[in-house]
Symmetry: C2
Subunit: 146 residues, 2 copies
DNA sequence: TTCCTTGCAAACGATTTGCATTGGA
DNA sequence: TCCAATGCAAATCGTTTGCAAGGAA
């Protein structure tokens, strides 16, 4: 398990939450950072192998979430899918395939992202609600299922 | 249980799926149409009372979903929340409170909705993905939690 | 009569937790 | 040494299903 620049940032973040950046947690982060979209505990477990029991995987995800390293998404069928938080992975959106359920990342060109951001601000000013994040997901058919 | 125009449309839709628009299903629809946002089975059960067992509630939701009368959302914490489909309720978006978890409907002024729609089209043309729906959610703090 | 629907209880799958053990600073 | 982290098994929670009884066409 090599330590990247990303890893050292995460280590700092974890230690500020009295948590260690252990082998198991590094493994989860590495696996997540290598996948092109949010992944569920089951999917991670399948990819990592049974070296790490599911319960430990869930516990790792819980700690990483509390420390703001990963973020859960609940797009379909009631399973939580995790991905690295925006400060690690950058802001992006998701493509959700209605057929196979696959979730992939989508980074918008800056100009589009700017439009979305403007829209969020304008909308926020019209309702009694303080926007913090926005989620903009496209549901449709991926290239394979189209 | 009064029958509204909405109800007769739903009845037609259900019967085309060999399903009846029974008292229980009417109750679910009525409750959903009265709430200002997507509701989970548990929330519906709490509101309806134990007249309808949870299992029946789930079954009603399943039938209504198959017939396209209700649509599930999985915004937070892994519980499915249902709402009337767009052809019954109109297109809209959601405000999700990060603090209390409440989900409320948000109808955008036509001009904004137009912008969102344009954006979806433009984006769709840049990726190998066929957009069918879009979900645009604002996460933030509701007036009570702000 | 024929099927769809419902209720109850049992089954399920995803996730969490208690407890004893291991491991890192 | 001391407390966090882990593994295992049992528990929990939301949701689903088998089966027998009830209800509408």
């Amino acid at each position: 398990m090599t330590t990247t620049g990303l890893d050292s940032e995460i280590e700092t973040r974890l230690s500020s939450h009295d948590a260690r950046y252990t082998r198991g947690r590094r493994l989860v982060v590495a696996t997540l950072s290598g996948s092109g979209g949010p992944r569920s505990a089951g999917e991670l477990h399948a990819q990592i192998g049974s070296t790490m029991p599911l319960s430990s995987l869930y516990r790792s995800l819980a700690v990483l979430e509390e420390s703001g390293v990963v973020v859960p998404h609940f797009t379909k069928s009631g399973v939580a899918r995790y991905e690295l938080a925006e400060w690690l992975q950058g802001h992006h959106h998701h493509l959700v395939c209605l057929d196979c359920g696959k979730v992939e990342d989508l980074s918008l060109p800056h100009s589009y992202e700017e439009k979305v951001r403007e829209l969020v601000e304008e909308i926020g000013s019209t309702v009694s609600f303080t926007p913090v994040n926005h989620a903009f997901e496209l549901e449709g058919l991926c290239s394979r299922c189209a």
